[in-house]
């Protein structure tokens, strides 16, 4: 005999009372709020809803009630809040912590032939002994790198201009590769170079040792050469030539380009992006002007620059979306990173948007003199005699000692946006990160003051902008953004979605 069917009322809480799960909220505009839960799931609702939810004015007959349950904003006595599922999601977001330091930057020399306006470090000298990494330091640094627990390491060789120190590079690559194999670790190697000295011999070497190249491309000639002077004024020509030759030998996807932004750059977003298209690049990183200048910037100067950058970014992103719609695949990297944090269960490997901050935990910089720094920017500060973020030295410290150094402990106190003033209340906390070095450099305080923080202004504005695109953007825009978030080309995404 069949069992009787029970009515829907059997499957609900007896009373309309519920409890809150952790969430934060933010006003998007006069009509709308966004609620974000502890794992970064969000829902946009009419203004005033957060208050109604918190004061238990939502009733179980409302659709919103069910949505809030499903998205882990509330729970009631009828069913479990499934905290273990939430914990799994939380753990997934923080998976980047596992394995500790994955990116290891080696400053093999400070010598360089360029004198880029924004560079704090290069030395115009031929004296190898003074500013090159010695063999002893290199050996100790590689040994320290290999002690990082991660099974996958990235070794980034930088300078100055690293190709001026090929001997040292060859030595490092050789012991790093054999050490990694011995330790059962995968090792990616990349050299960041202006490519002015990219001989065929060096290219062959890179090919034979599976080394990728990363170079600077600030935009078309008139921007690039203005930013990056060198004797002969031909930095752009050399970069383009180098890119072309490197692609031919190493492969299309083994050469990357990064732009550095100056005042001049901010006036020409389309031209810069067009240059990247012209050079057949499919990703570009629209970065703000670096605040790590020789001159200490005043608060309002940074603010003004950030306003100008945000205009540049929005115009640039708009143009990039248009290019994608027209059939040219181009990803804006910062946008992609944020979208991955907003839309997918994953965190990020991008150090600047991690909380706890990636400084030290996910990246370490080994300077030519053996000093170990928490980030690249920390090392730049050292060039201006600010050693706040020097964790130790390969010659005197073990890896473990780096992480118990006073510098690192101080850094840790400011490293989690979960507990920083302003951030601890912010709805975008799961999408954002903590950057103690940035705040130290721009505000003289690792913890930072959110109201005047360029880091905060940038991230909040960009995140709001992306949420708006996700809510209101055309289908094409949604497709493009989702393609970026899920690491697929637009064509691949469209092949899998209804058309």
């Amino acid at each position: 005999m069949a069992r009787a069917f029970l009515p829907a009322t059997n499957f609900k809480a007896a009373h309309s009372s519920y409890q809150l799960l952790p969430f934060r909220f933010h006003r998007l505009d006069t009509e709308t709020e966004i609620l974000v839960n502890e794992c970064g799931e969000f829902v946009t609702v009419p203004r005033g809803t957060a208050e109604r939810i918190a004061h238990k004015h939502i009733t179980s007959d409302q659709d919103l009630y069910n949505t809030l349950k499903a998205k882990h904003f509330i729970f009631d006595e009828y069913s479990s809040p499934l905290l273990d599922v939430l914990a799994t999601k939380y753990r997934t977001k923080f998976d980047f912590i596992r394995g500790s330091t994955k990116l290891h930057i080696f400053v093999v020399t400070l010598r360089c032939d360029h004198s880029c306006h924004y560079c704090q470090v290069s030395r115009q000298t031929a004296n190898k002994d003074e500013y090159d990494m010695s063999e002893e330091v290199a050996t100790a640094a590689v040994a320290m790198m290999l002690q990082a627990p991660s099974e996958h390491l990235t070794l980034e060789l930088q300078g100055g201009e690293p190709l001026l120190a090929m001997d040292r590079i060859k030595y490092i690559v050789s012991i790093a590769r054999s050490g990694a194999a011995h330790a059962g670790k995968e090792l990616d190697i990349v050299i960041t170079s202006n490519l002015a000295y990219l001989s065929e011999e060096i290219l062959e070497y890179c090919k034979n040792n599976q080394i990728k190249l990363s170079t600077s491309l600030d935009g078309p000639e008139f921007i690039h050469n203005r930013n990056r002077p060198r004797p002969g004024g031909d930095s752009h020509k050399l970069a383009i030539d180098g890119i072309r030759r490197a692609r031919r030998v190493l492969g299309e996807d083994r050469v990357a380009a990064l732009m550095t932004t100056t005042q001049l750059s901010l006036e020409h977003p389309k031209e810069i992006i067009d240059e990247y298209v012209r050079q057949s690049f499919h990703s570009i990183f629209l970065r703000p002007i670096s605040p790590y200048g020789f001159a200490v910037k005043s608060n309002h100067r940074t603010g003004y620059e950030m306003d100008a950058f945000l205009q540049f970014y929005k115009a640039g992103l708009d143009y990039i979306l248009e290019l994608n719609r027209g059939g040219y695949n181009m990803t804006e990297v910062y946008t992609k990173i944020l979208l991955q944090k907003i839309l997918t269960p994953d965190g990020t490997g991008y150090v600047d948007l991690q909380s706890p901050a990636g400084a030290g935990l996910n990246v370490l910089v080994y300077n030519y003199d053996g000093g170990v720094y928490a980030t690249d920017e920390s090392r730049m500060l050292a060039e201006m005699r600010d050693e706040t973020f020097r964790l130790g030295s390969v010659s005197t410290h073990s890896r473990a000692q780096l992480f118990t150094s006073p510098a690192f402990i101080r850094l840790l106190e400011a490293a989690c946006n979960q507990s920083l003033p302003g951030c601890s209340d912010c709805a975008f906390q799961p999408y954002c990160g903590a950057d103690p070095i940035y705040h130290h450099a721009t505000q003289g305080d690792m913890i930072g003051r959110r109201a005047t923080s360029g880091f905060c202004q940038r991230n909040m504005t960009v995140i709001e902008h992306l949420i708006s695109l996700l809510r209101n953007g055309s289908n094409d825009v949604q497709d493009i953004l989702w393609a970026w978030a899920t690491d697929r080309s637009l064509n691949e995404l469209r092949a899998s979605t209804p058309q």
């Binding site: 069949a2 069992r3 069917f5 029970l6 829907a8 059997n10 499957f11 609900k12 799931e41 179980s60 659709d63 069910n66 949505t67 349950k69 499903a70 998205k71 009828y78 069913s79 479990s80 499934l82 273990d84 599922v85 799994t88 999601k89 839309l343 997918t344 269960p345 949604q478 497709d479 989702w482 899920t486 697929r488 995404l493 899998s496 979605t497 209804p498 058309q499």
Partner: protein, 401 residues
């Protein structure tokens, strides 16, 4: 010991001779069920173990000893052989060599368990279920069928030859077999490791980590589970499946299975209760069940409990095209594979045709008169036989592709 009653699929199938799976006659000479492989011509004595010979009539000259059973269309008069017999069998034309049947000693049922030529063979685990879904196509029966079905299934696995590409384990709720299920899986693993086994289950048992651990430890190399999910929140899902705690247990079960790397299909039946929050469910799956292999949206089968609850369940597929498309879009944008089963192409928006798979089991498929001349008939799964009673107003031949 009933083996089921109610509107069983076999009854409907009897209108379609090629797909008959069930017949009956008069049993004689055996007390326990017999599972045997069919032959329609006599075979040498050495080859008669576990073999049932199907005959239209008896010939006194026949040597019938050594067979597992004789299946006889006519009435047996003067049958003296000790070999088990089912005579006066209603239909025998559907019984082909290589088929595997089960013969019941009390009722004389002759049940086809396995057909080598079919891509859709199933292992029936139990009539019992701890859920009671409003639209269940195989309504549960609370009967202690553990021993007879275990015996039958283990014997069946022994007799299946050659190994099929695909085998489905279904019921009722297979996890109710507990250790018995693990025994079956282990036997499948050992006798036909390359057969892809897909098990339909409500997944609730997997919420208990120790069971899931034992389940995964069987290490079947080619196994996936199909688990239904009907809503993004407990109240609605539990109502549809008529069991409190079902949603929570299913979600936790899915997570435990994912820990062990088990391949998972989520099944969503499309009806008036699941459609309104379908997009929410799609988003829920993306955010909480990211690890699933794919999501299968299934058209409603007008069988089992469904007719009884049709008032609450019926929605014409042409009326939920929007919801279905936006749910598929949400999942596929996220990167989760989608399939659509049991919906005819004429009631599916063209943009969704590429997800449509011909999954209606071959013994359920029919095509109507309306299908004559349809340009996409070959690609389309057609109808369930019982769905011919309640149809979408969108059913039509497609003349433009």
């Amino acid at each position: 010991m009933g083996m089921g009653n109610g509107s069983k699929p076999e009854r409907a199938a009897s209108e379609h001779p090629a797909m008959r799976l069930h017949t009956a006659g008069k049993p004689r000479g055996f007390q326990k069920p017999i599972v045997a492989r069919i032959v329609t011509q006599p075979v040498p004595s050495s080859a008669r173990r576990d073999v049932a010979l199907v005959l239209p009539r008896l010939d006194p000259a026949d040597d019938l000893s050594g067979y597992a059973a004789i299946i006889l269309a006519e009435a047996a008069a003067g049958y003296l052989c000790p070999t088990p017999l089912v005579h006066s069998v209603r239909d025998i034309d559907h019984l082909r060599p290589g088929h595997i049947v089960a013969l019941e000693p009390l009722s004389g049922f002759v049940r086809t368990l396995y057909r080598p030529e079919s891509p859709h063979n199933t292992l029936f685990a139990t009539e019992r279920c701890n859920s009671n879904c409003l639209m269940c196509s195989q309504p549960p029966i609370d009967t202690d069928d553990f021993s007879p079905l275990m015996d039958r299934n283990l014997k069946l696995i022994d007799l299946i030859s050659p190994s099929p590409d695909y085998l489905c384990i279904t019921g009722g709720e297979p996890t109710l077999l507990d250790e018995g299920l693990l025994t079956i899986l282990a036997k499948l693993r050992d006798t036909m490791p390359s057969t892809y086994v897909h098990m339909l289950t409500n997944g609730r048992r997997f919420a208990w980590a120790d069971f899931t651990c034992r389940f995964a430890s069987v290490s079947h190399p080619n196994l996936s589970v199909g688990i239904p999910l009907y809503a993004d929140h407990a109240a609605l899902h539990d109502y549809v499946v008529q069991a409190k705690d079902a949603f929570d247990q299913t979600i936790l079960g899915l997570h435990q299975l994912a820990r062990h790397g088990v391949e998972i299909e989520i099944r969503v039946v499309l009806h008036a209760l699941t459609i309104p929050r379908l997009s929410n469910l799609a988003e829920y799956i993306c955010r909480n069940l990211t690890f699933v292999d794919h999501v299968a949206f299934m058209g409603l089968e007008h069988i089992g409990y469904a007719p009884r609850n049709m008032q609450e369940l019926w929605i014409d597929p042409v009326d939920y095209e929007d919801e279905l498309e936006s749910s598929v879009t949400a999942l596929s944008r996220f990167g989760i594979n989608v399939r659509i089963y049991n919906l005819q192409l004429c009631v599916l928006r063209k943009s969704l045709w590429k997800y449509s798979a011909q999954a209606i089991s071959d013994w359920k498929n029919v095509y109507g008169e309306v299908c004559d001349g349809c340009l996409v008939r070959e690609r389309c799964g057609g109808f369930f036989q019982w769905n011919t009673k309640l149809q979408s107003r969108g059913i039509r031949r497609v003349l433009d592709t």
